[in-house]
Amino acid sequence: MSTVTQKPLELILARNLMSALSTPAFLVDEGGVLVFYNEAAGTLLGKRFEELGTVGAEEWGSMFGPFDDAGQPIAYDELPLVVAVRQGRPAHANFEIGSIDGARHQVEASAFPILTAHGSRGAIAVFWPAGSNSGTGH
């Protein structure tokens, strides 16, 4: 038998789309594992996905913050991406994330689930600098 464990097509297509966008975007699989983020997100975080690789559920939630208005870490279960993948519904929030170089960015994040005839495949989150009306402004 073939030995390649194929990613679900919906994740493949999502990654291909995200790769072509200048809007920062994250992709998690149905288990919440961070399986991809695009170049724009890498710029925001200070590290390309190719350098980081996949990151386990709950682990990625603490790597970059996020922090609330008081600077306190936001509970993993409350992150839009987690709500989307666990509850199967869209979610939106404002918060601050920290990049590898220590810089903080105030962002808005919208996440939506990837649902198929066979159930959930994961979720996508896109980010905007808070207060911006034009995404990354590019």
Partner: protein, 293 residues
């Protein structure tokens, strides 16, 4: 496992003197498993001739549909075994949130497009959504997976003893992706095609034609070659010929494909352009012509 190509053309039947060598019938592959079980992969107009070649006796047939575009189902109402009460036909295909497989196929096999309705077919016909997990038909294990095309579309892998067939006739894995560098598990269809004895894959457009057809769900010659290289299949057949391609154009396209294949280290005899009525017998594993990447 024996494989016979009954229809190699994509999109629309294209009969005529200019397509007589490669064939004008749309997608259909006949597969005879080691235990004698019969499968038809897709039901384009090629399935009409497959039906005529089958013996007129009690038969159980499995028709595995990749998707429901007309060039993959048009032959169903001209499939002689469907009009024999002693025939049992199981039709497999992709699930859709929109409607059942039976209801979606019935849009074609119903008035005013068809003189018969599904319920009027004399054979014992049933419809099944392909499961996400592997299943068995006769001596084979079957696997279906969604692949990059327009609308819900499957590719199939059939493992029968030591031989394996991967069938991905409508496929655009290079859409937004670099097939030469992307990780294998992120390439649409590669899990089905990896190390197959025979890979039948989409190669509809020449490289010059592809830029005007990005997103149409089909592959260029170079993309098909790259996909085959990554798959490491023992033999590759480029399939789903464009209806506008004459035999002479396909000859030239084949030359280009083989040159590229050889440049990548492949053996010329392991790459074919699909020819209607061509037969392949898959018996045992042979060394791969290219190292899978």
């Amino acid at each position: 496992m024996k494989v016979k190509l009954w229809g190699t053309r994509g999109s629309v039947p294209s009969p005529g003197p200019e397509t007589i060598r490669y064939g004008g019938n749309t997608s259909c592959i006949g597969v005879t498993l080691a235990d004698g079980s019969m499968l038809a992969l897709d039901a384009g107009t090629g399935i009409r001739c497959l039906g005529l070649a089958l013996p007129d006796e009690p038969t159980r047939l499995h028709v595995l549909l990749t998707h429901l575009h007309l060039d993959h189902i048009q032959g169903l109402v001209f499939f002689a075994p469907a009009f024999r009460p002693q025939t049992e036909i199981v039709i497999w295909g992709p699930a859709s949130p929109e409607a059942s497989l039976r209801d979606r196929i019935a849009r074609y096999i119903s008035a005013p497009l068809s003189p018969v309705e599904v319920r009027e077919l004399p054979c014992d016909v049933s419809f099944r959504h392909c499961p996400e997990s592997e299943w068995e038909i006769g001596s084979a294990r079957i696997r279906a997976a969604s692949v990059a095309h327009r609308g819900p579309t499957l590719g199939y892998r059939i493992d029968d003893g030591e031989s394996s067939l991967a069938y991905i006739p409508d496929h655009e894995p290079a859409l937004g992706a670099d097939l030469d560098t992307l990780e294998a598990d992120w390439i649409s269809g590669l899990g089905l095609a990896r190390d197959a004895s025979l890979l039948i894959c989409d190669g509809q457009y020449s490289d010059d034609e592809y830029p005007a057809h990005v997103g149409w769900g089909h592959s260029s010659t170079s993309h098909a070659i790259s996909f085959a290289r990554r798959a490491g299949a023992r033999r590759t057949v480029l399939f789903h010929h464009d209806p506008l391609h004459s035999d002479e154009q396909l000859d030239r396209l084949g030359e280009v494909a083989r040159r590229r294949w050889i440049e990548l280290g492949g053996a010329a005899e392991t790459l074919d352009l699909a020819v209607e009525r061509a037969e392949y017998e898959l018996s045992e594993r042979a060394p791969s012509p290219l190292q899978a990447a």
